[in-house]
């Protein structure tokens, strides 16, 4: 099996509010520290049809270095479209005219699966050893901060869907090529982030099933985020019970019961996903990426990670 950081693409997904973006960034940092030239790619925030042709304001579509060896990019389908046209067409003013044409944007957006395809096409491009973008250097790893659970699968399966619908033409061909990368477990890994809560755990189980059904991919790693401290053993809790009249003990036992409920959810998650999840503690004052990376690294399979 390929070690997590030895893939070309690691796609991080999860339900809203579980800290998916933070975990993606921490994972990127782990990779950068391990000597991988890494980029964390955020899939555009406004996932709706309008953003495909809303041209107001410049968009961040730049690869920015955040830390040594760690880059970031925010991918917008409109920018991806322009870049793609520039790459495919002989160049010159026609690209500008097309890219600015609202009609073109509209119908590019209306073409089945086109938007997702453009997004995922850019992710794929970032992951190429020979970059299509002129003058761009290759990355060892692309960490994708993917949209919330359901949409994440939609983005991954877009090339396949598109290729099946279109059949012929350059985009369909490209779709098949991209799909070959995405559905190859040696090149692409999916990481799910969850909280130790009923709904988030259930959704992660559903994600695993739909990922397998639509892409034939496994959930490479599951990360439980924002866990309360789990301090007491069952024996210790029993030992404290007689002192529950003391407010401090009552508080501590209250915290213990909360930790037990979380433990039960983590166990459920482990059973659903058939693996021991990586655990990240709750950071009351907001996550510090360096620290999260410290906590995450030992829990990942980095055995074969030396570059």
């Amino acid at each position: 099996m390929t070690a997590l950081l030895d893939h070309r693409l690691v796609v991080v997904t999860g339900k809203g509010g579980v800290g998916k973006s933070t975990v993606a960034a921490a994972l990127g940092l782990v990779a950068a520290r391990a000597g991988r030239r890494t980029i964390v790619a955020e899939v555009a925030r406004r996932g709706d049809v309008a953003s495909a042709f809303d041209r107001a304001g410049a968009r961040p579509f730049q690869e920015i270095e955040l830390a040594p060896g760690l880059f970031h990019i925010s991918i917008d389908p409109q920018d991806a479209l322009e870049e793609y046209l520039r790459d495919q067409l002989p160049g010159g003013p026609i690209v500008d005219i097309l890219a600015r044409s609202r009609v073109f944007g509209l119908f590019a957006a209306a073409t089945p699966g086109m938007r997702e395809l453009l997004t995922v096409g850019k992710l794929w491009e970032l992951a190429q050893l020979e970059r299509r973008t002129p003058g761009a250097d290759a990355y060892d790893l692309v960490v994708v901060d993917a949209p919330a659970t359901g949409h994440g699968v939609a983005v991954l399966s877009a090339p396949r869907t598109f290729a099946a619908a279109a059949g012929t033409g350059p985009v369909a061909r490209q779709g098949r090529k991209i799909d070959a990368t995405l559905s190859d477990p040696r090149q692409t890994a999916v990481v799910a982030v969850a909280k130790a809560e009923e709904l988030a755990v259930t959704e992660t189980g559903e994600l695993r099933a739909s990922l397998r059904a639509s892409m034939g991919l496994q959930l490479e790693r599951v990360v439980v985020n924002a866990l309360d401290a789990d301090r007491f053993s069952a024996a210790e809790a029993r030992e404290l019970e007689p002192h529950v009249a003391l407010p401090a003990v009552a508080r501590a036992l209250h915290g213990h019961r909360r930790a037990l409920r979380q433990r039960a959810q983590v166990d459920r998650l482990a059973a659903l996903c058939e693996q021991e999840p990586a655990r990240l503690p709750l950071h009351p004052d907001g996550p510090d990426l360096e620290r999260l990376a410290d906590e995450l690294a030992p829990q990942l399979d980095l055995a074969a990670a030396a570059p």
Partner: protein
């Protein structure tokens, strides 16, 4: 603390906004329940109900039209339902199709649009953002549903702004200048445009291998028949959002990102001159006043004969919970200042998730 009930006095539409994962859906359900218990006929419109919560309300097959929740469920917990509680799960695609059907001047137009490949993709994409369909449904229910109050649980968007923009963006979309040029070909500019459009389609076809020309022609022809109705509807929806009977409640958790989102959204409401009805800070870790300072705790535990190693763990647990409570208190202060809301509704973090009638009643207790 003024509860939600008092804040919704005289309101007929309550939109519950906030970032994902803060408990918007359960808050919406609890608010609707509270209003219904006090005698109102209430419908709660949700996007993605927690399965177990829906099941526990006997609504495991929520449809695109409101269904009444059996009052006996609450009677079993000693709560008398003086009004009526209705619930529905929004099906964006069905709502959009429904809208097209209503606006179509004739059956032919309706079939042409609904069966069109372009429409199907567009409606999926538009419905995918869910915001417009949510307000469109709200508009229908407001005008035809016969409810005293509607509570809308907004879509789990990363940016609540999408919701405020939705009617504008959609009108813009259907009214887009370029689209108009295609639809109403008059003059030289239009002829140039349509030639340009033909080139565009030719290139699209070359790239994608999908020939959209026929579909597009049918789509545009059919759509032109319902443009006016659509525009009117979007205006109506916009007016409803700004109407004095409508108010927005912002829900957040005390965590950093949702707090930032709440502050951002409050500003946008202000800019759009829409009513802000109040702030709900959910899942707050509350300090326990009875627990003494660390030294007192240590000596109490020692006196009670708790061995030192275990006492240290107790102290660590207390300190950890205190830090969380302090963070949450600081978040609330920040929200008060930034949102100009001196009296937010603070809901203590409940034990476990709200997924049954009992949990909902407990949440209602804290909210109303």
């Amino acid at each position: 603390m003024t509860g939600v009930a008092a804040r919704l006095e005289g309101k007929r539409v309550c939109i519950v906004a906030g970032s994902g994962g803060v408990g918007k859906t359960t808050a919406s359900a609890a608010i609707a329940l509270g209003l219904a218990a006090s005698g109102k006929r209430v419908a709660v419109v949700t996007i993605d109900p927690a399965k177990r919560l829906a099941e526990s309300l006997g609504l495991d097959e929520l449809g695109n039209d409101p269904r009444q929740v059996d009052p006996a469920l609450f009677a079993a917990h000693g709560v008398r339902m003086r009004g009526e509680l209705w619930a529905m799960m929004l099906d964006p695609k069905a709502t959009f199709d429904d809208l097209i059907a209503r606006l179509s001047p004739d059956a032919r137009t309706r079939e042409d649009v609904l069966g069109n490949r372009i429409y199907r993709q567009l409606s999926n994409a538009v419905a995918g953002s869910q915001e417009f369909t949510a307000v469109a449904k709200l508009y229908d229910l407001h005008h035809e549903g016969g409810f005293d109050v509607l509570v809308l649980d907004t879509p789990p968007s990363r940016n609540a702004l999408d919701f405020l923009d939705a009617p504008d963006r959609l009108t813009d979309f259907f009214e887009g200048r370029a689209l108009k040029l295609v639809l109403v070909p008059t003059g030289i500019a239009a002829r140039l445009m349509s030639r340009g459009t033909a080139i565009v389609f030719a290139i699209l076809k070359r790239l994608t291998g999908v020939d959209l020309m026929d579909d597009i022609a049918v789509f545009l022809r059919a759509l032109s028949g319902l443009m006016d109705g659509f525009e009117e509807r979007a205006q109506g929806v916009k007016a409803l959002l700004a109407d004095p009977v409508t108010t927005f409640l912002i829900v957040t958790s005390p965590e950093r990102e949702p707090v930032a989102e709440a502050i951002f959204f409050r500003g946008k409401l202000r800019d759009a001159r829409m009513a802000f009805g109040g702030l709900i800070v959910n899942r707050v870790n509350v300090a326990d006043g009875e627990v003494g300072d660390p030294r007192t705790v240590a000596s109490e535990l020692h006196a009670a004969g708790v061995r030192d190693e275990l006492a240290a763990k107790v102290a660590a647990s207390v300190a950890g919970q205190r830090r969380l409570a302090a963070r949450d208190a600081a978040s609330i202060e920040r929200l008060k200042a930034e949102l100009d809301e001196p009296d937010p509704i603070v809901v203590a973090r409940l034990d476990g998730e709200v997924q049954d009638v009992e949990g909902l009643l407990a949440l209602r207790e804290q909210l109303m």
